[in-house]
Amino acid sequence: MSTLTTSSDKYSCSERLDDGRMIVNIGPQHPATHGTLRLLLELDGEYIVKCTPELGYLHSGFEKLGESMSYGQYMSVTDRMNYLSPLSNNIAYAEAVEKLLDIQVTERCKYIRVILAELSRIFDHLLNLGTQGIDLGAFTPFLWLFEEREKINSLFEMMTGHRFTTSFVRIGGMAADLPEGFDAEVKKFLGHFPKEIDNFEKMLTRNRIWMDRTKGVGVISQEDAVSYGLSGPNLRCTGFEWDIRKEDPYDCYDHFDFDIPVGANGDVYDRYLLRVEEMRQSVRIVLQALDNLPSGPVDLDNAKVRLPSKDNVYNRMESLIHHFKLIMDGHGLQPPKDREIYHCIESPNGELGFYIVSDGTGKPYRVRTRPPSFIHYQVVPMMIEGRLISDMVAVLSSLNLIAGELDR
């Protein structure tokens, strides 16, 4: 039985090397590392000479857990990965399983998924921008943005019953249809939300201190970004225009008219501006989706995939049998044996993909998440070596690293 030490455990506090350089350990419990990230910095004065990231402090065995749960049960686990935008993860996983089973959901379901995905995008970016501010000393915008997040929490609660990790998406549809009055509430929120973004921007965008601390910091070139596998806002800030919603539209994103903001310099300031603009574009998409929401059923009428309504289960024998066959151990979904797929969506963080291998039973044989945060964390040493410690804080918060997704 091994004891729990890492090779770098001797650096649990700072240590001075012979030539005057210091090794400082930042994290895993630290307010500026978002979650349980750990950096071992070799410092020469205030300049970072070498940086070694350490991870795994939140490794929970998601992938092993997926092999012991049925496809439907794993839905609630996917919420806990990128916990800033839980609905995006749900949507990605449900779509991956639907691709495996080769089923198409209804139009109404697709529109609702787009609305929820864009609200999650706003949700994620609000927290990321708030923490970017608070890490560099701007406390007020954090509180303002959190109040906006509370309003979105209320919207989620109105729709699903839970504020946060909702697990609202189901394979073949959604858990329930949108409630009465939901679109009025969303339109009310989106009515004043752009003004709130303007207020927030007034605090930071042309702020001398903010610009000094973020311009030219954490720069990455396009070639490096592609080679390191960056995606989402971290890739677009370099000037590389790539968004899966436009290039490979899923879930009827091709019905909507929206722009993709693209940066120029690949630094922290560009990533900040990009996320602010993405929120405005998400508002556009949600308003279009609400105006054109098709009527009809939300769930697929396919008894092999989607649970029948409780009314039918209690009153009709056929529905009871279908319910039994989907829930009980040993039954469940029947995907083709020994087949695998990969499906990705444009989550707020980047390309979130699910690679599922099925063995013909109701439990997946292998569920792998392609985590954007894990891949983005790899560029941190390259971005901060040779720079000051204060730049490290700006870079870490701008990459939107979420420990749940990183460590899985």
Partner: protein
């Protein structure tokens, strides 16, 4: 803790002790400075509790200190991986007395949905916990209820406990 032991020894069980208890506990429970040890999803709900709408600062938790030396209450929010467990223990040991621990969320209470090889099944395996707040994640109102339960627990403490 040394001073209390001396006072307890001198005064014994008396009217003065109960009055002293009342004042000390009143001061402690109304100024609980939290140290948020949040790792995952529950940390986000904890941040929501500390923000403007559900303001935990009303209960005295004004200064959120990330340094264990300056805090008296540690809120362990969300799952603790086995790799993180020594870190958690070390931070707890660095806090000075009096200190209390709130285990927030199903994962820190008992491991939650993560009954796997890599998650500690409840932080009470490595720390003494005072209040357990269930939920996945618990609503901000639940966390406030947990802090109030801790305040009720602190009210019952006594200077004589140190000398008994």
């Amino acid at each position: 803790m040394g001073l209390e032991k001396v006072i307890g020894n001198i005064l014994g069980e008396s009217y003065l002790t109960t009055k002293l208890d009342f004042i000390i506990n009143w001061a402690r429970k109304n100024a609980l400075w939290p140290m948020p040890f949040g790792t995952a999803c529950c940390a986000i709900e904890m941040m929501a509790t500390l923000s403007t709408r559900y303001d935990l600062a009303r209960f005295g938790a004004e200064a959120v200190r990330f340094s264990p030396r300056q805090a008296d209450m540690m809120i362990v929010a969300s799952r603790i991986a086995v790799k993180m467990a020594p870190v958690l223990r070390k931070i707890y040991d660095q806090m000075s007395e009096p200190k209390w621990v709130i285990a927030m969320g199903a994962c820190s209470n008992s491991g939650g949905i993560f009954n796997t090889y890599a998650v500690v099944q409840g932080i009470d395996k490595i720390l003494p916990v005072d209040v357990y707040v269930p939920g996945c994640p618990p609503r901000p109102e639940d966390l406030i209820d947990g802090v109030m339960a801790l305040q009720r627990k602190i009210e019952k403490e006594s200077v004589l406990d140190a000398s008994r």
